[in-house]
């Protein structure tokens, strides 16, 4: 499956891009932000499709943008030998943890394990400190040959490394050569052990639960608004498996609270860095209060939090509309890429240059991408214009020759992923494997079976589960059960003697009977269902077995334990009812004295369960409670 997907993906990437430009989408549909997050719904909007672009157009466009970043003439992804690769910030001639971890996030979202593993190996080999006071952290910038430009870390790199490693663990498991989860845990656990020794600090400030600008004595005194992606901590809380669920929940809440404070209430702009309380950083008389490159990411991050978690719905919707209103007021095709937080233009000193290019204010596609992403949380009409503007914008050099394949390219790709519903929470898919049916059952090999040493009947003909929805077992009263057990699910259910492979029709479903020998004294119906790929909860199981006696066995008692409730008939006579929310206990309920007749006896049972591991054990015992074993079981 995965291989096929890989091949398909590479074909798409290798093919010339199909015409997917400048369509005129429907302009009537009103975009309505969702009110529940993907953690809850496991669903994602495709805003392009909502706006009238075809699914195929959108897929093609997304793959085109992906291809530009990884394989195009202006690609930023470079493979080194067979097993490694890096992502380069071309304009700065280096490799950054930011881009590397972005690359891994993109790779895991696109199910590109090859790309992911290559970038990770390069990261681990050249960037990550394997020991020493910085152990676990990454030098934030390297030359493309792997030489470190800096030993120190920028916390957003670690943030993205951890999240993408957790997603990789969830998507691909941990036994394909890289233990992704262990690698994520290593970064987290190392961070928690930093205590200021050698000036190295935790990634997350312990007083405020907010991410540091850099995890050292200097950069841990403040934070960067664009490092705040609260939903990432929701991911860690669920799947880092690091024993700190509550801490990450707190970190997510603190991060959301911080964003409220740091964002300007009129423009929705924020400074590139701030104090933990959201106030701007002052150095002597100079107040650092400018929205520049780092800050571009804030609208996209908040949109991601909205899309995934939606716990801060009201504020985030206001924020989204406010920031789009601001940029719209500056002209959707002309707004520049740096502003003071109050909306004024920065002066010469405040404008940041990028790479070797001269200082200038430009209309950048990276910022257009992130502001367009904010449309996920906007209900106003102009949000469509941002999405269309992004769709139609070409990633090409500015009039002054400026071109940023890296930052603009990656932010644009993320925006297309996010707006098309392809930047997703990846829940665990491959941490474990459903045990095989054969672990619990074997096919009947001999004609006759005997009860086991303790008299338990292990050979049964079992019907695949009948759908019987019950969200809890609280309602298993005697009356409920009589109704449920005497209801006719299939014809002649009280007399039918099924064979292996027999089929009965229940509603429109055909269910098959399976003659099985249980490998344990108890019959694990849950594992029968899971082993056959059938539903396991909210179910009802029928079981039949044939008991052949050479002579009458009087004064026998049927002894049953079941999870959950069950009813049993011997030769058509109701013999036992086990009611209530019950656990499987050997000899839990025992029938009155009965006679197993010479010849054939039919033992029939039905077990019901809402949530729980359905199973039962049944045997016949004598007057003194000792097992009866002088009969054979023949279901062949």
């Amino acid at each position: 499956m995965k291989n096929v997907k890989h091949i398909l993906l590479s074909i798409i990437i290798a093919c010339p891009v199909l015409g997917a430009n400048a369509a005129t989408p429907d302009t009537q549909t009103h975009l309505v932000p969702w009110t529940k997050g993907a953690f809850q719904t496991n669903n994602y909007r495709n805003l392009f499709v909502e706006m009238g672009y075809s699914k195929k157009q959108v897929d093609n466009k997304l793959n085109e943008v992906f291809k530009e970043v990884f394989y195009g003439p202006h690609k930023v992804y470079f493979e080194v030998g067979d097993s490694m690769a890096y992502i380069s910030d071309i304009k700065n001639h280096d490799v950054r943890t930011e881009g590397m971890s972005y690359g891994m996030m993109i790779a895991v979202q696109f199910d590109r394990k090859d790309i992911f593993d290559k970038i990770w190996r390069w990261s681990k080999k050249y960037m990550q400190h394997q020991n020493g006071p910085r152990g676990g952290y990454f030098g934030w910038s390297c030359k493309t040959d792997g030489t470190r430009n800096s030993e120190g870390s920028a916390s957003d790199g670690e943030l993205y490394y951890i999240t993408s490693l957790i997603f990789a663990a969830n998507r691909w498991g941990n036994d394909t050569g890289i233990n992704y989860r262990k690698e994520a845990q290593k970064i987290i656990n190392c961070s928690f052990l930093k205590n200021g020794e050698n000036d190295i600090m935790p990634l997350i400030d312990k007083q405020t639960n907010l991410i540091t600008f850099t995890p050292d004595k200097f950069g841990s005194r403040f934070t960067d608004p664009s490092y705040h992606i609260p939903a990432f901590y929701d991911v860690w809380s669920r799947w880092a498996y690091d024993g700190r669920t509550d801490f990450w929940q707190k970190a997510a809440a603190s991060s959301r609270e911080y964003l409220h404070k740091v964002v300007n209430s009129t423009t929705a702009l924020n400074p590139d860095i701030s104090n933990y309380d959201g106030t701007p950083i002052k150095i002597r008389d100079y107040v650092m209060n400018t929205f520049r490159y780092d800050s571009w990411r804030v609208p996209a991050n908040i949109a991601l939090d909205y899309q995934w978690s939606c716990t801060d719905m009201k504020w985030q919707r206001e924020y989204g509309e406010k920031i789009q209103n601001f940029f719209y007021s500056k002209g959707i095709n002309t707004f520049v890429d740096q502003y003071n937080v109050d909306g004024t233009l920065p002066n010469e000193k405040e404008i940041l240059a990028a790479g070797d290019y001269p200082k200038a204010l430009r209309h950048s596609i990276g910022l257009l991408a992130t502001t367009a992403t904010a449309s996920l949380m906007c209900g106003h009409d102009i949000s469509r214009e941002f999405v269309n503007a992004l769709w139609n914008a070409k990633h090409e050099p500015s009039p002054d020759g400026y071109f940023d394949a890296y930052y603009d390219g990656l932010l644009r790709l993320f925006a297309f992923m996010q707006l098309s519903g392809n930047y997703r929470i990846i829940p665990p898919l491959h941490d474990g494997k459903e045990p095989q049916l054969e672990t619990y059952f074997s096919k009947c090999k001999t004609r006759d079976a005997a009860p086991d040493d303790n008299g338990f009947i292990r050979r049964w003909t079992l019907l695949e589960p009948i759908d019987k929805p019950n969200v809890s077992n609280a309602g298993f009263t005697d009356s409920y059960l009589r109704d449920a057990f005497y209801h006719e699910y299939f014809k002649n259910q009280q007399t039918y003697v099924p064979k292996d492979g027999s089929v009965v029709k229940i509603g429109s479903n055909k269910l098959t009977w399976h003659s099985m020998d249980s490998k344990q004294y108890n019959v694990k119906l849950f594992r029968l269902a899971s082993g056959l790929g059938k539903q396991t909860y909210g179910v009802l199981f029928w079981a039949v077995t044939i008991i052949d006696c050479k002579e009458d066995i009087p004064n026998a008692r049927l002894a049953v334990g079941s999870n959950s409730a069950s009813m049993w008939w011997l030769n058509g006579n109701e013999t036992l009812l086990l009611s209530g929310d019950r656990r499987m206990v050997k000899d839990d309920c025992v029938s009155q004295r009965l006679t197993l007749h010479k010849g054939r006896n039919i033992l029939r049972g039905v077990v019901i369960n809402g949530p729980g591991m359905s199973n039962f054990c049944a045997r016949f015992v004598d007057e003194s409670g000792k097992p009866i074993k002088n009969y054979t079981i023949n279901n062949m």
Binding site: N42, G243, F247, A474, G561, G580
Partner: protein, 484 residues
């Protein structure tokens, strides 16, 4: 069958309620309490959802214990001078699930006010992959006194209960140690050891359904830590076996999550939660009950109930009484060979307090033990003193002669006497604890002039007829009393 473990229990803003016979006082709201730990003279228990309860005296509980990590159903154990906490986190895919992990962390103190209070970073010690027959939450810890080894049982109804070995120095899993399956269909297990036997306690029934929860605690035992754990009818816990330890009380239902606390030799209590206390809006509350041992099986005793009692020595079966004149009850005596069986039967009245009180001295009256004759000087009213607080599992009581305020008191020379009026002095306050054999020890809160609080001197039979205060010794009946 349910295993809703990630229930968040609100612990704040609770009503003030009058004392409940079943539960601790204060705001003892908790689910899945860990074994109670004593630290800096205070008591601590941690619950599901983080945090936990704290008590200065073991009787009055409020929220305030601090445990990081979140997750569910922690357990705690003291090893050397440190506390080890184990707790489980269910990963929970988008569809919930049983991908779960157990972590341990140390702390030198459990008291958030202590300068030593600092948890170490969590270490994963066990996990389940979400599919296998196990759900790695609900840890229970045992430091094996015979071997010094540290064991942990864990699991829920999803599959099997397992046991693993941890390193008591690091709290980490012993390298290479493989889990062993020891039970099915249990939750919230705990391991304890006594007299050559290992006991596996598990919770059966339905949790988290308020006043309809059927949770109950059962036990099996083994002479091998790895089982098989066998119940009283020879069934293994792998077959669903288990002997009842505690089920519903008349006003509280759904006991779960056993913990054992040894207070003294022969003085044990068990902690658990009740899923619902009918006297407290059906909330889940902490419960502490005496733990008795009957024929080698642990069973919950009843919390002591206020009332009128004769206090009978285990030594001789004599009753504790005021040393006052024996006042004869007048009766027309007939020689038994003269009784006409056809004469009407007459019911004779008991001797009344009013009949005798005039003959009693006015000041302090000493006490002795004597033949029990149902006389007013032998009948005591035992009442909790709400404002006095308590100890692990119970409140302090006053013990007065029925119908009077004459109160039993400890004296400065470590003897026992009565004062004409109960004044609330600490030496008039008594701690009553049921012992593991079902008898009781009765202990004054303080002995004037001795170190406070008194935790060693109990009401004691110096002779058959002579009570005193002496060092508690479970191995002599002199320390033990019964109420009837």
């Amino acid at each position: 069958m349910t295993s809703f473990h990630n229930i968040f229990i609100a612990l704040s803003a609770m009503l003030t309620l009058s004392q409940s016979a079943n539960a601790q006082i204060g705001q003892p709201y908790i689910h899945d309490p860990s074994t109670i730990m004593e630290c800096n003279g205070k008591y601590f228990t941690f619950g599901t959802g983080g945090g936990g309860l704290i008590s200065d005296d073991g009787w009055n509980w409020k929220s305030g214990a601090v445990r990081p990590g979140g997750g569910a159903a922690p357990d705690a154990i003291k090893i050397g001078d440190r506390y080890l906490i184990a707790y489980g986190n269910s990963g929970g895919g988008l569809n919930g699930g049983h991908n779960a992990h157990i972590f341990t962390m140390w702390n030198k103190s459990l008291d958030p006010k202590s300068p030593d209070f600092k948890f170490t970073e969590p270490i994963e010690v066990a996990s389940s992959d979400g599919y296998e027959d196990n759900d790695a939450i609900d840890p229970g810890l045992l430091l094996d006194p015979t071997s010094g080894k540290l064991w942990m049982s864990y699991g829920t109804y999803f599959g099997n209960i397992r046991i693993v070995e941890l390193d008591p120095k690091t709290g980490d899993r012993i390298p290479g140690n493989k889990p062993v399956d020891i039970a099915i269909d249990c939750e919230a297990t705990d391991l304890i050891y006594r007299d050559g036997w290992y006991y596996l306690l598990g919770t059966h029934g339905t949790c988290c359904d308020g006043v309809n929860s059927t949770y109950n605690i059962v036990v099996g035992r083994s002479q091998n830590i790895l089982g098989p754990y066998i119940d009283n009818v020879g069934r293994t816990m792998f077959e669903g076996g288990g002997r009842m330890v505690i089920s519903a009380n008349n006003r509280a239902v759904g006991p779960g999550h056993f913990g054992r606390e040894i207070i003294d030799n022969g003085v044990e209590v068990m902690s658990c939660h009740y899923e619902a206390d009918f006297n407290r809006s059906g909330r889940s509350v902490l419960a502490i009950r005496p733990l008795l041992w009957k024929n080698g099986w642990p069973v919950a005793g009843d919390s002591f109930k206020e009332g009128d009692y004769a206090i009978i020595s285990e030594r001789r079966g004599y009753a504790l009484e005021l040393s006052v004149d024996f006042v004869r009850i007048p009766q027309k005596q007939q020689a038994f060979w003269h009784i006409n069986p056809n004469d009407p039967i007459e019911s004779l009245p008991n001797q009344q307090l009013a009949d005798v009180i005039g003959t009693w001295q006015k000041g302090d009256i000493s006490v002795r033990t004597n033949d029990y004759m149902c006389r007013p000087n032998q009948l005591w009213t035992i009442t909790a003193i709400p404002e006095a607080g308590g100890y692990l599992g119970g409140p302090y009581y006053k013990i007065t002669i029925k119908g009077t305020n004459r109160a039993l008191t400890a004296t400065a020379n470590a003897e026992v006497s009565t004062v004409p009026e109960f004044t609330g002095k600490l030496e008039q306050q008594w701690r009553i604890e049921q012992l593991t054999d079902g008898t009781y020890r009765i202990m004054p809160r303080v002995i004037p002039g001795k170190a406070e609080p008194n935790t060693h001197y109990v009401l004691y039979s110096a002779g058959d007829s002579t009570p005193t205060l002496a060092l508690y010794d479970f191995n002599t009946d002199n320390s033990k009393w019964n109420f009837k």
